[in-house]
């Protein structure tokens, strides 16, 4: 458990970023592998960028408002 925590802290150390990126990657994987979602393949790039920015905004908001 200590090893996993050390790796987590070394790589990201922030649950909001981790969940945000995991969610974005999952959505992109679904778009790539499910045929009904194939029309969305063209906007995979923008989805990725929006996912990254949303994760950043979410974690910064949490930091800012947790200081109140």
């Amino acid at each position: 458990m200590k090893v996993i925590k050390a790796i987590y802290n070394f790589i990201v150390g922030d649950m909001v970023i981790l969940i945000g990126i995991a969610l974005t990657v999952t959505i992109l994987a679904l778009i790539n592998n499910i045929s009904t979602l194939a029309p969305l393949k063209g906007i995979s790039g923008p989805i990725l960028v929006i996912g990254v920015l949303s994760s950043l905004v979410a974690t910064l908001s949490r930091e800012a408002f947790s200081l109140r």
């Binding site: 992109l28 995979s44 990725l48 990254v52 910064l60 800012a64």
Partner: protein, 274 residues
């Protein structure tokens, strides 16, 4: 030579080496230079071994598409962590890294432990381990960036090796520069703009992480590699907007606190006047 890879590794390494140098300097001044330098050299050798073995394994065994996806995601996580901390420091919500404070704090800890001012040239195990640990821990992030950046930057196995070599060269140059500056000044390198460097590296890691993750999912970026510049511009603009917003949030949070502080003072003066 891949300049983008070398530059990113140079900036990232410079920040980490400055942090590691502070601890090596404290050990050198407080315990002795022999233990401090031996610890730092042992850690540098461990890191070089790590980069060589892991780097070669990745270059030879992992297919480029899988590598780009996995490393892209790892770089995104890593880059967002750096970027978040840099944005929080710029907006004033988090204290900036103060090398002088860290220097004094570690020195006080060593003094409390009973270490004397570099009086004995004898090898000291505690000093060696402290120096080794700090260089290794700070250097691990550098090793991670060198391997991931170097291995993903190119498409063929040959260029992947050259990518790792370029990244290693960037890191080595940064290390030499920090050691040279430190040896000349013999004080904590407090004037290095650490937060700016962390901000730049955060933007670079996030940009490359996005680009390679996208490529791993088969995204055809418009304008090919030139799109990296557009991605960097998008993240830069977003970061500046976020800093401005967070500064406003901080002001709003401080305003009621200032009002609360000044209110009793007014009451007190009113009481005194009659």
């Amino acid at each position: 030579m891949q300049w983008v890879v070398a530059t990113a590794a140079f900036f990232a390494s410079a920040v980490e080496f400055v942090e590691a140098f502070t601890i090596v300097l404290v050990v050198g001044v407080t315990v002795n230079w022999r233990s401090a330098l031996l610890g730092a050299l042992a850690a540098a050798a461990t890191l070089a071994l790590l980069v060589a073995t892991l780097g070669v394994a990745i270059v030879q065994w992992v297919p480029i598409d899988v590598l780009r996806l996995v490393i892209g995601v790892l770089l995104l996580l890593f880059g967002l962590k750096w970027l978040k901390n840099a944005i929080l420091r710029y907006s004033g919500l988090k204290a900036r890294h103060d090398e002088e404070a860290i220097y004094e704090e570690t020195r006080a800890e060593l003094r409390a432990r009973g270490e004397v001012e570099a009086s004995s040239p004898r090898f000291d195990l505690f000093g060696f381990l402290l120096s080794y640990k700090s260089v290794l821990l700070e250097g691990l992030e550098v090793a991670f960036i060198v391997i991931t950046f170097g291995a993903s930057a190119a498409s063929s196995t040959v260029s992947r090796s050259s990518g790792i070599a370029s990244a290693s060269l960037g890191a080595l140059l940064a290390g030499l520069l920090v050691i040279l500056a430190g040896a000349l000044l013999r004080v904590p390198l407090a004037k290095v703009p650490e937060n700016t460097l962390k901000f730049v590296v955060g933007i670079m890691l996030t940009t490359f992480g996005t680009f390679w993750t996208g490529e791993g999912f088969g995204v055809d970026w418009p304008l090919s590699d030139v799109f990296l510049l557009i991605l960097a511009a998008i993240y830069l603009c977003a970061a500046f907007l976020l800093i401005t917003w967070l500064k406003q949030v901080k002001k709003q949070q401080q305003a009621p606190a200032i009002e609360n502080q000044s209110a009793p003072t007014i009451e007190q003066t009113e009481e005194v006047i009659p």
